[in-house]
Amino acid sequence: MSSPAPAVLRCERVRRTFWLAEARHRVIALVDINLQIARGSLTALVGPDGAGKTTLLRLAAGLLQPDAGSIEVLGIDVVREPQSVQDRISYMPQRFGLYEDLSVQENLDLYADLHGIAREVRVPRYARLLEMTDLNKFTTRLAGQLSGGMKQKLGLACTLVRSPELLLLDEPTVGVDPLSRRELWQIIAQLVEEEHLSVIVSTAYLDEAERCAEVVLLRAGRILANGPPVSLRAQAAGRCYRVTPPPGVPARQLQTRLLDAHDLVLDAVPQSGEVWFMTRAEGAVAAAESGREHGRSKEADESNAASGAGAANAAGGTSNRLPLGGLTVHERAPRLEDAFMLLIDRDEGVSQASHLPALSRDRGNPPQAAALRGSREPHSHELSHGPSGDLNTARADPMNARSEEAPVIEVHDLVRRFGDFVAVANTTFSVRRGEVFGLLGPNGAGKTTTFRMLCGLLPATSGSLRVAGVDLRHARAEARARIGYVAQKFALYGNLSVRENLRFFAGAYGLSGEQSRERIDTVVEQFGLAAVVSGPSGLLAGGYRQRLAMAAALLHEPQILFLDEPTSGADPLARREFWRRITALAQAGTTVVITTHFMEEAEYCDRILIQDAGEVLALGTPQEVRSLGGQGDMDGAFIHIVEQARGGRAA
């Protein structure tokens, strides 16, 4: 054990499977994991859902035993001596089980006692943790009465009552707003610096992984890549670009266009009013640009360049030119997220499993997308006809034409009080048909309350509220028939099959007979559920569950779809797939109202509303909100706006 630089975690050919009793088969969580993590570093575990991140952390914590292989933590064989490892490490599980019937102080005391912290050490430690977590004022409050972000911070504080030799954190920032998220990371960073903690953290946020010294990318139980963020990012070099959409065109429309050019574009996301995308081939844009500028003669060069880089098939019939419509493209520095998408896509090519690309590959799917294309020319035509005029016609997009119509949601001076507590104060806004409207705000800002009132689940204290042309104060049932609601938690019957669930909801919405069957078939196709339609829905993976929930909410063809934190805890792939569907729905005329903690997702929205302490802080397009925040990206703008408002209130 006197090796010069002992690893905090060393895995050798670790394998772990789980027996799924309901499905009667064995699933693989981890296969042949070889990993060595050095002492004193901050390491991130990233990867899609089901990659094995949590299993790996639980194995390291001695909570699970591997089927094969050896695991050493701090030089101790954790399989043989789990207790001596557990005496030295601290672990914060994904759902940190705070004792909700104990107060903040009692929770801290419990963990301090269990770790045997001496009284004299405790006093300064508590003071520091409470200050860092900003829980000073709440020490006597029961943990169950804290907001989501505060609970996470208390969980972290309980985990950190002492300086462990190794700190394991399993998705510590899931469901936490950007402010609390930043604070949590400040705490971690501070401790790493001052106490030289070794930390292994799993996360769905790649910007968090970017702060770490090492990143381990897992997928389907295997390690795809392992190294410092710089070296991972370098893999995506030469493929990353940004482009600004023409004025009046939402970024997500250009993004959809780019993603539809599946053979050339690997990934595209709206970002700060631009679209950031990544090509399959290195240097593809340079070639495409020159191809465009110098006319058709250069096209051959482009396809050469593309195939030379060993990427997309540039075969005759399909397009090999980016659908950019003469917009100026700038190269940009790759982010970790680009590397993540690239590496997973490469792995995908090997395993042929379908994820995001399934949507764009299968062009007949979803119907909304077909409807969208029906309003213009078919996709491949669009490209071969030269992209120039294309985006300009988009200005006459149905959404813009609709702007004069009466709004589908009209909220005027909405107030909701719980006793003395004002959850929502004088809120006024309206949402147009086909708009994607985002509700953002820190934990406990009043989003959920607003949401529930809009869905008719909670009566307003005062103010007027019209949804889908119906006054919610008088005709709540009528309004409900016109809306679909996707709750944050999986609210379907786990022991019913997918089809049985859909049949039940169709019945609940008053559909029957032929109409019901037809709608069920439509949504099954639309959401790609055909393969799983007869299996029990409780066994579906996260992405499928959400698709099913959305399918159920859309059975009665509602005018408005409400989604409450649909992407909380989802990996970047699942989130992209989700937003593809939302974009398609909005194009087909469904109004979408959504809450999220991922600020970059606000970029998909037509307009967003930022709330805090029940008050409206900002309302406008992402661009307007960003400029109001005065900073580059949405995350910064959000934090700026909320902090400024809080500062003003405190003064």
Binding site: Q83, F96, G97, D101, L110, D113
Partner: protein, 386 residues
């Protein structure tokens, strides 16, 4: 080395204290716990003490008087005086039958038209018809009628019973001196109270604790707790201590009610009674924690606890039905239950006295069960997620 050992002991005590404090706080803050642990026992005591009684009181009886002579009236006068009967006079058998069919009366006593004549010749016969659908009650009513008539005037012939057996004993030849042992007053409260102690201890011991570990599994609180220096034994002990205290409070309440409200005698050793109760409570706690650790689900755990401990303790321990009168298989199952032995033990101690052979056997059996269940609970409590 001894330093290390003392350090380990200090750590153990500190962690146990912290966990026990936490369990106690949780117990006190959860109203449903307090309701099941303290309010329900109090309710059961009152219910069993005052509400439920296996004594038969106020039997409504129709008396068909076909012979209105003074002799006949004297004979049935005892009935009228008895607090056990509510008498209703009718003048035809037909009317009596109607009342019987309508369940308005539970028995019919017929004084035939020739009663005074036959009484004079020493052949007096009365007819008693009892609703036999509840055999136990029917038999009790038979007994009541006999003794009530005996208290009435003069020589008595055993009535003819059409409902059950028909016997006619010659009067004056045999007089039955009945005497009940161990419960001289034949007050059912006396034997309900020992049963109540068993039920309350089972309720707190198994039913309440069956949910405490499962609750932590459901709420995900164990995962973080496991990755600390805490040992499984400490978790288990910390769960046992507060519920042990609640169980003993229930025991004290029942004993106090038994002595002060219902005046149940305490013929045997009180210390032994306490000792036996501690043993039974430990066995129950062990069983509850074992169920809880195995099921990891509050609903399944509570159902399992109800079906494997509370219901058998109620039905099969000899509390409601005498195990001597049930089929062999049921009796065998009954003998397997710790509750059966505990019930036998406390009944003996309270109503009969310290009978060595019974006390020793039952205590030994309870010790065995306590060790077994606590051992199983300890084996099932492991710091593993799967």
């Amino acid at each position: 080395m001894s330093d290390q050992a003392s350090g380990a002991v200090r750590g153990f005590c500190q962690r146990l204290l912290a966990l026990t404090r936490k369990e106690t706080r949780q117990l006190l803050r959860d109203r449903s716990n307090l309701a099941i642990g303290l309010a329900l026992p109090a309710l059961l005591i009152l219910l069993f003490g005052y509400g439920i009684s296996l004594d038969v009181n106020h039997v409504s009886i129709a008396v068909v008087i076909e012979d209105a002579s003074p002799g006949a009236r004297d004979t049935i006068a005892g009935l009228r005086l008895s607090r056990y009967f509510t008498q209703q006079d009718v003048y035809s058998m037909r009317a009596a039958e109607t009342l019987m069919e309508a369940h308005a009366v539970q028995a019919v006593l017929r004084v035939p038209g020739d009663f005074s004549g036959s009484l004079a010749s020493g052949q007096g016969r009365l007819q008693l018809i009892v609703n036999g659908s509840d055999a136990t009650t029917a038999r009790i009513i038979e007994g009541y009628v006999q003794s009530a008539l005996a208290r009435g005037s003069g020589p008595i012939n055993k009535p003819t019973l059409r409902a059950a057996t028909s016997t006619a004993l010659p009067s004056g030849t045999v007089r039955l001196e009945e005497r009940l042992w161990f419960n001289e007053a034949n007050t059912s409260t006396w034997y309900l109270v020992p049963g109540l102690i068993v039920l309350i201890m089972t309720l707190v011991g198994t039913f309440l604790t069956s949910m405490v570990v499962a609750r932590e599994w459901e709420r995900g609180t164990l995962e973080a707790l496991f990755v600390t220096p805490v040992r499984p034994t400490e978790i288990l002990l910390a769960k046992t201590i507060p519920y042990f205290v609640v169980g003993m409070i229930g025991f004290a309440m029942t004993i106090a009610a038994a002595r002060l409200l219902f005046h149940v005698p305490m013929l045997g050793s009180a210390a032994l009674l306490l000792f036996a109760s501690v043993l039974y409570l430990l066995a129950s706690l062990g069983m509850g924690l074992w169920i809880s650790a195995l099921t990891k689900n509050q609903f399944i755990a509570s159902q399992t606890a109800l079906l494997t401990s509370f219901m058998p303790a109620l039905m099969l321990s000899g509390f409601l039905f005498d195990l001597n009168n049930v089929p062999v298989v049921v009796r065998f199952i009954g003998e397997l239950l710790p509750a059966t032995h505990f019930l036998e033990l406390i009944k003996t101690l309270m109503l009969a006295g310290t009978i060595k052979s019974i006390v020793l056997t039952d205590c030994a059996i309870l010790i065995g069960y306590a060790v077994l269940f606590i051992g199983l609970a300890r084996l099932a409590t492991r710091k593993r997620l799967a």
